[in-house]
Symmetry: C2
Subunit: 338 residues, 2 copies
Amino acid sequence: MGIVVPLNPDKEQKPSVEALIRLTKPGMGQVNDLILKMAGANVDMIPEIADYLISSGGKRLRPMLTLAAADMCGYEGDGHVKLAACVEFMHTATLLHDDVVDESDMRRGKKSARMVWGNQASVLVGDYLLGQSFRMMVEVGSLEALDILSTASSVIAEGEVMQLVAAKNTATTEDEYLEVIRAKTAALFSAAAEVGPVLAKAPQAAKSAFRSYGTNLGLAFQLIDDALDYGGSAADLGKDIGDDLREGKITLPVVLSYRRGSDADRAFFDRVLMEGDVQDGDLETAIATMKQLDALKDTVERASHYGAVAKDALAAFPDSNMKKSLLETVDFCIYRGH
Amino acid sequence: MGIVVPLNPDKEQKPSVEALIRLTKPGMGQVNDLILKMAGANVDMIPEIADYLISSGGKRLRPMLTLAAADMCGYEGDGHVKLAACVEFMHTATLLHDDVVDESDMRRGKKSARMVWGNQASVLVGDYLLGQSFRMMVEVGSLEALDILSTASSVIAEGEVMQLVAAKNTATTEDEYLEVIRAKTAALFSAAAEVGPVLAKAPQAAKSAFRSYGTNLGLAFQLIDDALDYGGSAADLGKDIGDDLREGKITLPVVLSYRRGSDADRAFFDRVLMEGDVQDGDLETAIATMKQLDALKDTVERASHYGAVAKDALAAFPDSNMKKSLLETVDFCIYRGH
């Protein structure tokens, strides 16, 4: 009688971040409190915008990486909570500025902040969050962590400029594109993970391992995001599919399709992405072309490659629930793309 | 025979920053080299924009303050050169973002960067310069200087948001306005000056003195700038007079005129600044009203007050050419407004 619930359902379940969320829950509670406190300001508009973005349902993967990495390296202080909040502030500042730069109307299924408060406030509140982020880092007092996070901050901005320059250029190569996402996305994942062992004063090998885990997870994450923009469901992603096409963004599915396709395919992508002449049915055409040329499948394939590198980066660490959750997080990121 | 040149022309000359420029010249040469090096990037657009702004003829008052303060406190290392470059980068990043927020077409008599490269690049290159600025600070390795500069960074952004919220609000009080400029302008002058004694490991009294000098010089500088926007010549300022009026910016001349004026005067400022309905002849009307109500004269008067406080802040330091040049710099800033 009754339903048989498997005691160890792992193998039958889809990969998920639930384990990571559960294991970092106490620390993330403190991170959230700190975020709310540090988003406060003498001007009401700042916490309003910060709350809007921060409570808008991102998974907070980056700060969880900081907590998990510090934990796996035996860190016992509270600096990891502050650095995790820094990482989330840096990410939020980037989102605010990105939406202005991309002229995005939506973000995670809600109106973007710039549509609610305007471009001006989005630029300035982004600057404020970045400033607060640096103040928190300085409080922690680790010059090594400061070096890692401040370097990430300028690398991210450099990556965004690279993307802006590459924008609408359908001749972008796969390597050039990888250089962009290595800077604009992977650098923050990498820094978020590396500061954990840095705080724990772990050996160089541990720092390098987490740096590599973060970089490769970030690359995989971004590539899957790119694929989802042409194939995911709006409900899953929380954003409309086809945004990248409409914004003229060159991502890996486009890079692959452009190289593999016919002259007619190239003419299509040139019209839509370079000239910005987007017509009804273009998204469907793009998706059909990408499927026919295996561009979406191979984008996920490339992501799996980086995912595998990320997992191997942690191979030398002894088994633990935290390690297991970080490995599963990689699978989860890849799985979203299937 | 011949022309008699007075040997000590100080009393007969207009106050100038030439002495400060001369005394900080060797250090500023290194600052300029470092600025060019750190503005370099893997994307050509970044140094292009940075050079455009950095070579566009600002006086570089802020980095000179850092060098002068370090020198007066007997500092002998080279960290002051790096921190001076940081301060200039922070300032340049703020200019880039300000022009986007204010939708300014001109900056120091040239097209603003956003008019040449667009808003998108201005936002992102500003972020990049801020990131590079933090990297240089971290290299210097003084946590106390990092604390001062990172706090300034978030205070500046907070001040900009305050200004955005106060924008077009003609009912802004003088105290509210002072709070805005204390954050958006004086905080960087203050930090620029304070990190000098910090690097030199000078006693707390010296740090406080330079902090106070910077803050009050910054307030005076901004108030004179505000007055000049209604009375200076475009040639001197390198920007068109009347910018603040056209952009609906509330500055002290407006605050004073609005309070002192008649109902008709208030209706005028409400139409122009709150409603943004700027008509031909409005600038002339505004200037005439401000003159009649002594609003420009008293803005300069207020600036003189802060200038006097700035000079007294350095009173306890022994006489030196550097000290004299810093005192003259205060007079120079005020003198511009007459």
